[in-house]
């Protein structure tokens, strides 16, 4: 083991490149690890305007040319990008004179780079499985999906330990790839409460006026507009909520279901009640989360549910579907409302209850905020991750690779 302990992380996204949840996860994890004395090198994809190498909050960030090789489709692009990531990372390891103790890959998107480097340098590989193809698609239907699933299986096979961010994901990954129990580790995802603490909610009134009428409550959805996120369940719950409360539904995010959802809203003649915002900048999102009367996470498949945690950190009461990681984050009637998954009636019941009952709303939002601060703190998570690195390196030191 080098001193300090040194890890090289692979992630296809890192700020300012943000596509999904992996980018903020790797950002906060690497930063917090650096703070606890771990030398962290993040190898990620390039982004217009972002430097090829920089130090961000104590973390060495390397951005590789992700389009050096053209590719006919997304999945092929992933493997082509990995070819270049692997090549550039190999050169970085050599420049560091081999001073890397552990490789840590995030999802199948960097599988082949991680696996290849593990073998050529003979260092242990860890993987964090943020999601699975079989879960995202609710089965494996096409060759692309099967190929990705098999790549994930191979990655978890090659990894020394597989990290998942909820107990649900631990059992899901174990089932999906047939892994032994002792290979899996649960370390929760974290949320950065500081950004919410620093912003004030004083100007909510003026801010709200941009999106909703004075007598309208704000119901917020943040997420991609894709099947697994259950946004269609929320859209179907809109008229049921409106029967009881006057509200504006604000939908932040984009995805392939957008047209379909717009059509449903149009056919219900509720265009004036549902506002599709697309992507919004961070400051706007923060304010929306702070000012919303309720945040809804209606996912059908949710490995973790970071958006629920963010809402809780922003002191916005949450209604979530009782599935996956969301089931673990939220205690029903204590830190949020858990609705039956894929059930617009149950979802609208929860939304309505929070919008009508002020005391209930106050009670759950305060409990939720406390829980977030205690359990989903990045410094705690970094410490747990560091301990896993140490455990792996201890086992590795006994192997003939050491």
């Amino acid at each position: 083991m080098t001193d300090p302990l040194s890890v090289m992380m692979f992630s296809w996204e890192y700020p300012p490149r943000v596509i999904g949840g992996i980018s903020p996860h790797v950002y906060f994890l690497s930063k917090s690890l650096a703070k606890s004395g771990v030398k962290v090198h993040v190898v990620t994809c390039d982004f217009p305007g972002a430097p090829a190498h920089e130090v961000v909050d104590g973390v060495e960030v390397y951005r590789i040319d992700s389009h050096k090789n053209p590719a006919p489709d997304f999945a092929t692009w992933v493997y082509m990008m990995n070819l270049n990531m692997q090549k550039e990372a190999a050169a970085i390891v050599n420049k560091l004179e081999g001073k890397v103790d552990v490789f840590h890959a995030h999802d199948w998107l960097v599988a082949t780079a991680g696996i290849g480097l593990k073998h050529v340098f003979r260092k242990p590989l860890l993987v964090t499985m943020h999601s699975t193809e079989i879960g995202r698609r609710d089965g494996l239907h096409t060759d692309t999906e099967k190929m990705i699933h098999e790549t994930e299986a191979w990655l978890t096979y090659e990894a020394w330990k597989v990290v998942c961010c909820s107990n649900y994901m631990v059992s899901h990954v174990r089932w999906a790839f047939g892994l032994p129990e002792d290979k899996l580790v649960m370390i929760p995802n974290g949320v950065n409460t500081h950004v919410y603490e620093n912003s004030t909610s004083e100007d909510c009134e003026a801010f709200r006026a941009k999106y909703a009428l004075p007598d309208e409550k704000i119901v917020l959805y943040v997420g991609r507009l894709v099947y697994e996120k259950g946004i269609h369940v929320l859209i179907n719950a809109v008229p049921k909520v409106l029967e009881k409360v006057n509200a504006k539904f604000i939908i932040v995010g984009s995805g392939y279901m957008k047209e379909q959802l717009l059509n449903i809203v149009r056919s219900m003649k509720l265009e004036h009640k549902v506002l599709f915002m697309g992507f919004v900048d961070d400051a706007t999102l923060l304010k929306l989360q702070k000012c919303a009367d309720v945040s809804v996470v209606p996912s059908l498949f949710e490995p973790f549910g970071i958006v629920a945690l963010e809402a809780m950190a922003a002191k916005s009461p949450v209604v979530v579907s009782d599935t996956g990681g969301l089931s673990e984050i939220v205690d029903h009637d204590v830190t949020g409302f858990k609705a039956y998954p894929n059930n617009p009636d149950s979802l609208s019941w929860g939304i309505t209850k929070i919008l009508i009952d002020e005391n209930y709303k106050k009670y759950i939002r305060e409990n939720a905020y406390r829980k977030v601060q205690e359990k989903y703190n990045w410094q705690t998570i970094a410490q747990q991750t560091k301990n896993i690195y140490k455990t792996v390196l201890g086992e590795y030191s006994k192997s003939f690779w050491a």
Binding site: P70, P72, M80, L83, K87, M147, E150
Partner: protein, 194 residues
């Protein structure tokens, strides 16, 4: 066996062993995997693709390369980190060769049997462009390029702007064939250019 390449590699590796060159062949086999030593003294490692379902040759190739790297790295470490060079045939294993060069300083010769421009009926499709980009990477990262005819050398210079003196023509039908190959290897052995 897919084309004539298998026979050629078999003949060349056998000749190399006769010349006292420690020779390992890393190749693909879907079901018969592992290391064997042939009667000729050539050591062959066969790897399969851990990912069984694919959407094209490219994804198949790019995943197989990690197994090639694993096998090659095993050879490298078992040989006391002593491998002078790799000789890579066509684009398929260029990704592995490039990683081995950048990670373990093993230089490589890129032996060209054919080019995508000649194989493909439309080399401007995104698919062929991807393969061409791997060929380009091979020419860029290789210490030397080996071809079997003057015509191929001219084509590589024409299509990829490779400096002519980087490409060596070695005819397998010439009497000096193995000697020519060894001569080329000697110029490459001793570490990748940084």
């Amino acid at each position: 066996m897919v084309g004539q390449l298998a026979d050629y590699i078999s003949a060349l590796s056998t000749q190399l062993v006769k010349k006292k060159v420690e020779t390992y062949v890393v190749t693909y086999n879907d079901s018969w995997t592992g290391a064997v030593e042939e009667a000729s003294g050539v050591k062959v490692v066969r790897v399969a693709n851990p990912v069984r379902t694919h959407i094209g040759v490219l994804t198949w190739d790019l995943t197989l390369n990690q197994e090639v790297e694993r096998a090659a790295a095993s050879i490298y470490y078992q040989a006391g980190k002593h491998v002078n060079l790799a000789d890579v045939y066509d684009w398929h294993f260029i990704p592995a060769a490039v990683t081995l060069k950048n990670a373990l300083n093993i230089p490589f010769v890129y032996s060209v049997e054919s080019l995508e421009d000649h194989r493909s009926s439309d080399p401007n499709t995104p698919y062929s462009m991807s393969i061409k980009s791997i060929e380009w990477l091979g020419f860029y990262e290789a210490e030397k390029v080996s071809v079997k005819s003057e015509w191929m050398r001219d084509e590589i210079v024409r299509i990829y702007n490779v400096p002519k003196d980087k490409v060596t023509v070695i005819s397998p039908s010439a009497k000096t064939w193995v000697r020519d190959v060894l001569k080329l290897y000697r110029t490459v052995a001793g570490g990748a250019s940084k």
